[in-house]
């Protein structure tokens, strides 16, 4: 999780990613952040994030993101 939070901080700093659970619904992350985040995550975790995974249910919190990363890493 620490690695993920670091990456999220580089994309958009000043957000309490451990506490926030509505990053998309509350408009904390915009489309720029999401695209940047996907680029960074693809590199850092060597995964491919397909378009159908880009939904609030996967991006609303760091925990949800981590779960998606683990899932995609286990089932490439």
């Amino acid at each position: 999780m620490e690695k993920l939070i670091k990456i999220m901080d580089t994309v958009r700093s000043g957000v309490d990613y451990m506490a926030h659970t509505a990053l998309i619904d509350d408009g904390v992350l915009d489309s720029f952040d999401i695209v940047s985040l996907i680029a960074e995550l693809s590199d850092a975790y060597d995964i491919q994030i397909p378009a159908e995974e880009i939904v609030p249910e996967n991006f609303n919190s760091a925990a949800l993101l981590q779960a998606m990363i683990n899932r995609l890493a286990d089932n490439p």
Partner: protein
């Protein structure tokens, strides 16, 4: 068949009576039959076009689902998806192109809406969502008559949850639906159709109506388009509600937006989310685009690298959104103007942030009002590409505001509507604004059916007395029918 016609009223009445009279397990079949009849009334040729889309999309969906989603089968699934999309978007492109060359010669009713709805469905199937295996149920999803001609663009997962019933007659649903339908007709007949002739007069001859009249034209068009499009959507959602079916909202008080990105999240919501989910993210996060991002980061730095792919995709998206509305330079210019405005707004954000840190105006009532006012007029200017004959005429009209304002000779009369029309429309707009505010405050609070019926009676009275219909009027088609 135009919603604002006696023929449609009779058709709807018969459909509703039969819907609640037949055995409940046959309700959706009845809706399909009604949808076919509705579409046939708009021309048998139209039925051919939509049938091709329904049949090809259905078969492709079932076939894609029949192929496992494993690695070696991916190309096969992708081939099927691409074939279906090329065929259906191809039909849409040809029809749109021919319509641009010879208006209304071949344009099929609602083709942009049902094509996007069915193509969204097929992409979902490709991504792993369950395909509809029963052909006639799928046909109803594609052809459901209330939303066939101007949307909203529904997702299969959302609409199918309530589309197939069974639905017991529910006075609450029926009353809410009836109110929503009449509210839609109020917007269309009391506001939009009264002001539309003035917009026509003002934009037909930009030479005669330059200067301050250009501001009037784009102001009246904003009101007319909003009343017309949201009115049509109210009718659609209201009819569906009366039948016990939930259709997604397509508007969320867009004129209260403070920036252009927010405006497009609140106007024609289902089109915006369609483009975002099926175009923007797939392109902006595709491998070539991510490679492009890295390349720009390496050569121009982090800031440019982060923005370049998103800006490129924003322009592609808005170019295509323009084409969706029509294959003319007007709509291409309109689309690109939206994209450029979004990019400028994004680039100015740090400047605004510095400004707010310095002066602390953000969130104050006055600044909020300024932002809403600014957004309203930016969108009015962008929308003006939609109403003048060509892109050149639009720029000339803008230029005339400064070059020859003509404020002293300004008059609202002589443009089509008379004083009574303007007064009725102004009261209508005030009611529209007030109702929006009240509904927002009430949120999900339920109004009992008897109150709904009282509101219905009031609305019906107002529409009958003040609506622009009957002798001396020709209720125009909804503006979005042409898309």
């Amino acid at each position: 068949m135009n919603f604002a016609s006696y023929g449609f009223a009779a058709f709807l009445a018969v459909t509703v009576v039969l819907y609640y009279s037949v055995l409940r397990r046959f309700q959706w079949q009845l809706l399909l039959a009604a949808s076919v009849v509705f579409y046939a009334f708009s021309g048998w040729g139209n039925l051919v076009f939509i049938s091709v889309t329904v049949v090809t999309t259905y078969i492709t969906g079932v076939k894609i689902q029949g192929i496992p989603k494993t690695g070696e089968n991916k190309p096969k699934r992708r081939r099927l998806l691409i074939c279906c999309m090329v065929l259906n978007f191809g039909i849409l492109a040809v029809v749109k192109f021919l319509d641009a060359a010879a208006p209304n010669f071949v344009l099929t009713l609602g083709i942009s809406f049902y094509t996007f709805q069915t193509m969204g469905y097929i992409i979902d199937c490709y991504r792993g969502k369950e395909a509809e295996r029963r052909f006639f149920r799928f046909a109803l999803f594609a052809m459901f008559f209330p939303q066939l001609i101007q949307g909203p663009i529904s997702r299969h997962g959302d609409l199918s949850a309530t589309l197939y019933g069974p639905h017991k007659f529910n006075p609450q649903n029926f009353a809410e639906g009836a109110t929503r339908v009449l509210w839609g007709f109020f917007k269309k007949l009391v506001i939009a159709d009264r002001l539309l002739p003035a917009v026509g007069t003002l934009t037909e001859d930009p030479q005669a109506f330059g200067g301050v009249y250009v501001l009037l034209a784009i102001f009246l068009y904003a009101i007319t388009l909003y009343a017309d499009f949201t009115g049509g959507i109210d009718i659609t959602i209201g009819i569906a509600r009366g039948l016990g079916i939930r259709v997604k909202e397509n508007f969320d008080m867009p004129f209260y937006s403070k920036n252009i990105a927010e405006y497009w999240r609140r106007w024609h919501i289902t089109m915006g989310t369609w483009f975002k989910d099926y175009l923007f993210y797939p392109i902006s996060t595709s491998k070539p685009m991510l490679r492009f991002m890295k390349f720009v980061k390496r050569t121009c730095g982090d800031y440019a690298g982060r923005r370049a792919p998103v800006y490129a995709c924003t322009l592609i998206l808005w170019f295509l959104t323009g084409l969706w509305h029509g294959m003319t330079w007007n709509f291409v210019a309109w689309g690109l103007a939206n994209g450029i405005a979004i990019i400028i707004s994004q680039e100015l954000t740090p400047l605004y942030n510095r400004f707010h840190r310095r002066f602390g105006l953000k969130g104050t009532r006055g600044w909020n009002a300024f932002e809403v006012f600014r957004m309203f007029w930016i969108m009015n200017f962008i929308r003006s590409f939609d109403i003048y004959e060509g892109v050149g005429e639009t720029f000339k009209a803008w230029g005339s505001i400064v070059a020859r304002p003509n404020i002293s000779g300004f008059s609202l009369l002589g443009l089509g509507p008379d004083t009574a029309d303007y007064v009725v429309a102004a009261i209508g707009v005030a009611m529209m604004i007030l109702t929006g505010v009240v509904m927002r405050r009430m949120k999900t609070k339920e109004i009992p059916p008897f109150r709904h019926f009282a509101i219905c009676a009031g609305l019906a009275f107002v529409i009958v007395v003040f609506g622009a219909y009957g002798f001396g009027y020709d209720a125009t088609s909804f503006i979005y029918n042409q898309f």
